[in-house]
Structures are given as structure tokens and as C-alpha cells.
């Protein structure tokens, strides 16, 4: 049988467009970013020169950087956990063949197709101190006496952003988990039932371990996606108050296009890349089980 592997030149030619696209749009920007982090690149400077680890030293001594890093981990970590739990609950409900489950699935998934900016504006209105639905509902039912400044109070603003991130992530995670649940062989569930397992035992001892890998991989993808996303804090709080909702993506944006310090922004990006790669590798190594 003819095999492409025998004709190495043709194989290379066929792969070249893909290699070119990956090299030009992914590898080069990453390497360029890493290179820039060792320079003092800025459009405000006439020349650019290498400065060694100066940018890294500066960042490690900068309190704001550590605060932003802490915020990012807290906001995205918490949002991911909340989104995972809610998505799992919804997926389990929909998987149990409740009536109109197809309709609910489609409705929930609508959130996924709405652009981030629309969601930011929508939640901005919901959290509006004077006219927002959140304060309106809470005061109406007497849960709170006085309106809360959701977006202008440090802790409340963080939780508002967490809620928005989680809300936006639920459809994606739910669809992935539902697909994983539907992939669990019926016979295995039947076997557990014959072995004496009730609903919760089947869920916790059989179903969840079987969808664990897919769910956790989806959670990692979603967390990485949220790391990149700055629309929500940018529109809702502009990173405030007092940087309490400033996340890495927005921080590096501000460094690059407010302070015009490309080098420092590239340093933040490089550190962020290293951190995510290390976390992703560790995460997949430790939580993904052999099945």
C-alpha cells in the first residue's frame, strides 16, 4: 500500500502550510514576547536594549503585581469551582431524561453564544446599585436592608466578577459534562445497580469517576480561557476598586496600552505563560486518573 511516510518531501510539502501558520501566528509571537521581556521595549523610547532580568526583578518587588496575581487566582479558581459544581448539577438533571431536557439544554447553551461584552453590560445593569435587579430583588424580599455597592466595594466587586465568570462558563462545562455522562455505558450503571448501589452511590462511586477526566480537562480549558478574558472586569469595574478586581490579562493590557511599557507587559505575559504551563502539566499529572 502507498504510504505518505515513504515520500518524505511530499509529506513535508503537505505539512508546510500548517507549519507556517503555527510558526508565524503562535511560535513567533510567543518567542517575541519572551524576548521583549528581557528588553526595555516601549514606543515612548527611541531605542530598545536588552536589560536582562530587570523587568522580572521589578515585577517581583511590585506589590500590585502580587495583588493582581492573587486576585486572578482567587477569582478564576473560585469561578471555575462554582461553574463546575453548577454545571455538574445541571448535567446530572438533564441526563436523567427530565421532561423538555432538550429545550433546557438549548436555553442554557444560549449563554455561550452571547458575546462577553454583552454579558458585561447585562451584568452591569443587574448589579447597578440604584436600579439593578439584584439589589431590587434582595431589598424587596427583605434579605438586605440597604442597597449594596456590588461593583464599588472591594469584596463584593470580586464576588460579582466571580459570579459573572462562573455564569458565562456554565454552558460550556455543562455541555461537555452532559456529553461525558451520556458516554458512560448503561451496562456499567446497571451493574452498579445490581451490585446494590442507590442513586447517590451510582453517581459518586461510578458516574463521577468515569467523567472525571473529561470534566477536569474541560475545567482546565475554561480556566485558561478565563485567564485570557479581560472584558468583564474591564467593563464592570475597570479593575477597581483599589485593584481588587484587577486580573493579569487586564493588568498586562494596562501596562502595554496605558503605561506604554511593552517590555513589562511582555514580562507579565511570560510569567503568566510559565505559570499556566506548569499548572496545566501538574494538574493533568495529578488529577487525571487512569481509566
Amino acid at each position: 500500500m502507498y504510504s505518505l511516510k515513504q515520500n518524505k518531501l511530499l509529506l513535508l510539502c503537505l505539512c508546510l502550510p500548517a507549519i507556517f501558520i503555527v510558526a508565524f501566528f503562535i511560535v513567533y509571537p510567543i518567542l517575541n514576547g519572551v524576548y521583549m521581556s528581557f528588553t526595555n521595549a516601549s514606543p515612548l523610547r527611541p531605542t530598545t536594549k536588552l536589560v536582562g532580568f530587570e523587568n522580572y526583578r521589578y515585577l517581583f518587588q511590585d506589590d500590585v503585581y502580587w495583588q493582581v496575581l492573587g486576585n486572578t487566582i482567587f477569582i478564576i479558581g473560585t469561578a471555575t469551582v462554582i461553574a463546575m459544581l453548577v454545571s455538574l448539577g445541571l448535567a446530572l438533571l438533564l441526563n436523567n431524561a427530565i421532561r423538555f431536557s432538550g429545550l433546557y439544554r438549548s436555553l442554557i447553551f444560549q449563554t455561550w453564544v452571547v458575546p462577553w461584552i454583552v454579558i458585561a453590560i447585562l451584568w452591569g445593569w443587574l448589579f447597578n446599585t440604584d436600579y439593578g435587579l439584584v439589589n431590587g430583588t434582595l431589598t424587596h424580599y427583605g434579605i438586605i436592608e440597604k442597597e449594596i455597592d456590588w461593583l464599588f466595594n472591594g469584596k463584593a466587586a470580586q464576588w460579582s466578577i466571580i459570579l459573572c465568570f462562573a455564569w458565562r462558563s456554565i454552558p460550556f462545562l455543562m455541555v461537555i459534562m452532559l456529553a461525558a455522562l451520556q458516554g458512560v455505558p448503561n451496562e456499567v450503571i446497571d451493574a452498579a445497580e445490581v451490585d446494590g448501589a442507590g442513586y447517590w452511590q451510582k453517581t459518586f462511586k461510578v458516574t463521577l469517576p468515569l467523567i472525571q477526566n473529561i470534566s477536569l480537562a474541560a475545567a482546565l480549558m475554561q480556566a485558561v480561557r478565563m485567564f485570557q478574558e479581560m472584558t468583564l472586569p474591564f467593563v464592570l469595574t475597570e479593575g477597581g476598586p483599589m485593584n481588587s478586581t484587577m486580573v493579569l490579562s487586564m493588568y498586562s493590557y494596562n501596562l502595554a496600552f496605558d503605561s506604554w511599557d511593552f517590555a513589562l507587559a511582555a514580562t507579565v505575559g511570560t510569567l503568566w505563560l510559565i505559570m499556566l504551563v506548569a499548572f496545566g502539566a501538574l494538574y493533568l499529572k495529578t488529577v487525571v486518573r487512569e481509566v
Binding site: P185, E187, V188, D190, A191, A192, E193, V194, D195, G196, A197, G198, Q201, K205, V206, P209, L210, Q212, R289, E290, V291
Partner: protein
């Protein structure tokens, strides 16, 4: 009272009735095989016995208790599935312990039971492996191990050998049978393979289109099929069927298949001259005659099994199979004379498909 009694069981999914008024008794220690073509309802019946489905009508008693509405865990049964249904995230040991842990059996006892089952099934070297690290036969043994550790009132097998290759299937067949002999367990076994049914069963239940067609021991069904369906379903190669008209001559009745083929019929059965009937002749009952008979055929295919040869020959537009001595010197195209003992011929009514007896 029988150990397992199925009384008037019917089951419908929406408007489709998959089981129709099933009545069946299975005795303690009996190995009962439900056999029938795909879609005949045998697996649904097994799932009803397991408690994984509930009957639309009827009830079932297990060991003198009405278990119709009980959940599987309250029936004390164990089931082996076609695709093994092992928990992929658990090791062999954990798979076998699963049910016992749910039953909150003390740890020492779990260890003893699992070790004993592992020894019986020769699974000791694999206890720390995951299902994906095992071969098909080993997985099947783990599934059986998971079943036997619980010492259930009833073993259920749902086509457990379907995914194995032919050689392993024969081996596992013997293992299941010897396990049953050793444990004296009451077993209900579903298969579509009539050889499995014939070789393993104490009692065979032949099913078709949601109904029980005939119940009996393997030899009872083989020697005395109730109708055309049972006669065709059991036996390998399949029974030869020929249609023709009854003719009487000198007090002897024969079947006139065509102008060249006349087959003598058993005399003890009174048949009306000219009546259209179907006869069934097992390949083992069809012999090749050295003398000329009124039953000539042309050899079309020869299949050698090593112990015997299956001779397929054309009789008019029909192909008949005869099982013969392997040393017989035959080749494709030869004209042969066939004969059969009239007493070994089954007669069927073409309209009802029922067997014609006396």
C-alpha cells in the same frame, strides 16, 4: 412451588409489546437458558428478573417472595453482562469488592470472599490490574468473580460470551458450566447461540417475538420440536426443510417434492392424500445411499470439519445438507442418492407451522 416463578409477565415500551404473557418456572440449582433470535425479548425478560425493568403486567416470585416491585439490590441477584460492565476506574480486586462494600460486609470477610473467588477463577495474578489491562476472557472471569463473591440467590447471564472469539467462547462455556456444577447456583442464561443453549442448559426456553415457544431439556427440544421455528432454530447445521404433497402407494405414504424426488414418510402418522406438508430432516438423519433411491441430488458444496463432512446438495431449487463420514469419496458435481429413516422425519403443517403428530 418453583424457585423462580414468572407469572403472566408482559412488557410494553410505549405501544410496542416486547413480552407477551410469559409464564415460566425455574427450579433451584437449575441452569436455564433463554434462547431466541435477536429482538425476541429474552434480554428484556432477564432485565425484568434482575429488576432493571419492571413488567407492565404480571408478577414474579423468587424463593417464595414476590419480588415484582423490588429494586435489584433487594433481590440478592448477580448479573454478568455482554460487555462485562466492569468498573473501568477500579482494579480487579476493587471491582469484585464493590458490591460487598455497599452491603457493608466486614473487611476481613470481603478479603476472604474475594480471595476465594479469585482462586476459583484463577484471577490471583491480575488482582491489581485495571480492566483495560486484561484480555476479553480475563474480563469475563472478573465479571463472574464479581457475581460469585456475593453468593446471590440467582445468577443472571446476558449473552456473556458474545464478545469472545470462537475458541475462547468454547473454553468459557466449559468454565461457566463447571462453575455452576461447583456452586450449584440457580442460573438464568440468555443467548442467541443455539450451541451454547444445547451444551449448557438443564432447561431451554425457546423464545420468539416476545413469546415462549417451547420449554424443555436440550434433547427434548432437539428430538421433539413443537413447531417449525424450534426445529429450525436448534441444530447445527440447520434442519433441512422440504415442501411437497402426500402420496399413498401400496399402503405406504411418501412426500412428492417434484417429479424426480419422492421421500418415504412415517407410516404411523395418518395423512390425507394430496395434503401439502413440510418435512424436516436433520443433517445427521440424511444418509448417502450406495443404492439408487427416488431421492437424487447433485453435490454443490463440501464442508470438512475434521470429524465429519457436510455435503450440501441441490434437490430441485432446494439445498440439503447431509452429515457424512469424512472418508467418503465425493466431489462437487457428483450425483448422489439420499435416504433417510422415515421415523426420523419431522412433519409440519405449512399453514400453522405446527408439528404434525399421530
Amino acid at each position: 412451588m418453583s424457585y423462580l416463578e414468572l407469572n403472566n409477565i408482559s412488557k410494553s415500551f410505549d405501544k410496542v409489546e416486547v413480552l407477551k404473557n410469559i409464564n415460566l418456572n425455574i427450579e433451584k440449582h437449575e441452569f436455564c437458558v433463554l434462547v431466541g433470535p435477536s429482538g425476541c425479548g429474552k434480554s428484556t425478560l432477564l432485565r425484568i428478573i434482575a429488576g432493571l425493568e419492571y413488567p407492565s403486567i404480571g408478577h414474579l416470585n423468587l424463593n417464595n417472595n414476590n419480588v415484582t416491585d423490588l429494586k435489584p439490590r433487594d433481590r440478592n441477584i448477580a448479573m454478568v453482562f455482554q460487555n462485562y460492565a466492569l468498573y473501568p476506574h477500579l482494579t480487579v480486586r476493587n471491582n469484585m469488592e464493590f458490591g460487598l462494600k455497599l452491603d457493608k460486609v466486614p473487611k476481613e470477610k470481603i478479603n476472604d470472599l474475594v480471595n476465594e473467588a479469585a482462586q476459583i477463577l484463577k484471577l490471583e495474578p491480575y488482582m491489581k490490574r485495571y480492566p483495560k489491562q486484561l484480555s476479553g476472557g480475563q474480563r469475563q472471569r472478573v465479571a463472574m468473580g464479581r457475581a460469585i463473591v456475593r453468593d446471590p440467590s440467582l445468577f443472571l447471564f446476558d449473552e456473556p460470551l458474545s464478545n469472545l472469539d470462537a475458541k475462547l467462547r468454547t473454553k468459557m462455556r466449559t468454565e461457566i458450566k463447571s462453575l455452576h456444577f461447583r456452586l450449584k447456583s440457580t442460573t438464568v442464561y440468555v443467548t442467541h447461540d443455539q450451541i451454547e443453549a444445547m451444551t449448557m442448559a438443564d432447561k431451554i426456553v425457546v423464545m420468539n417475538e416476545g413469546e415462549i415457544i417451547q420449554v424443555g431439556t436440550p434433547l427434548e427440544l432437539f428430538d421433539n420440536p413443537k413447531n417449525l421455528f424450534v426445529a429450525s432454530f436448534l441444530g447445527s447445521p440447520e434442519i433441512n426443510l422440504l415442501e411437497g404433497n402426500v402420496q399413498s402407494h401400496n399402503g405406504k405414504t411418501s412426500l412428492l417434492v417434484n417429479e424426480n424426488v419422492m421421500i418415504p414418510l412415517p407410516n404411523k402418522i395418518k395423512l390425507t392424500e394430496g395434503k401439502k406438508i413440510i418435512i424436516g430432516i436433520r443433517p445427521q438423519s440424511l444418509k448417502i445411499s450406495k443404492l439408487k433411491t427416488d431421492f437424487m441430488a447433485r453435490v454443490s458444496i463440501l464442508e470438512t470439519t475434521g470429524t465429519s463432512t457436510f455435503v450440501f446438495s441441490d434437490v430441485g431449487d432446494k439445498v440439503l445438507c447431509a452429515e457424512t463420514n469424512r472418508d467418503l469419496d465425493l466431489k462437487v458435481g457428483d450425483i448422489i442418492s439420499l435416504k433417510t429413516d422415515p421415523e426420523e422425519i419431522f412433519l409440519f403443517d405449512p399453514e400453522t407451522s405446527e408439528r404434525i403428530k399421530n
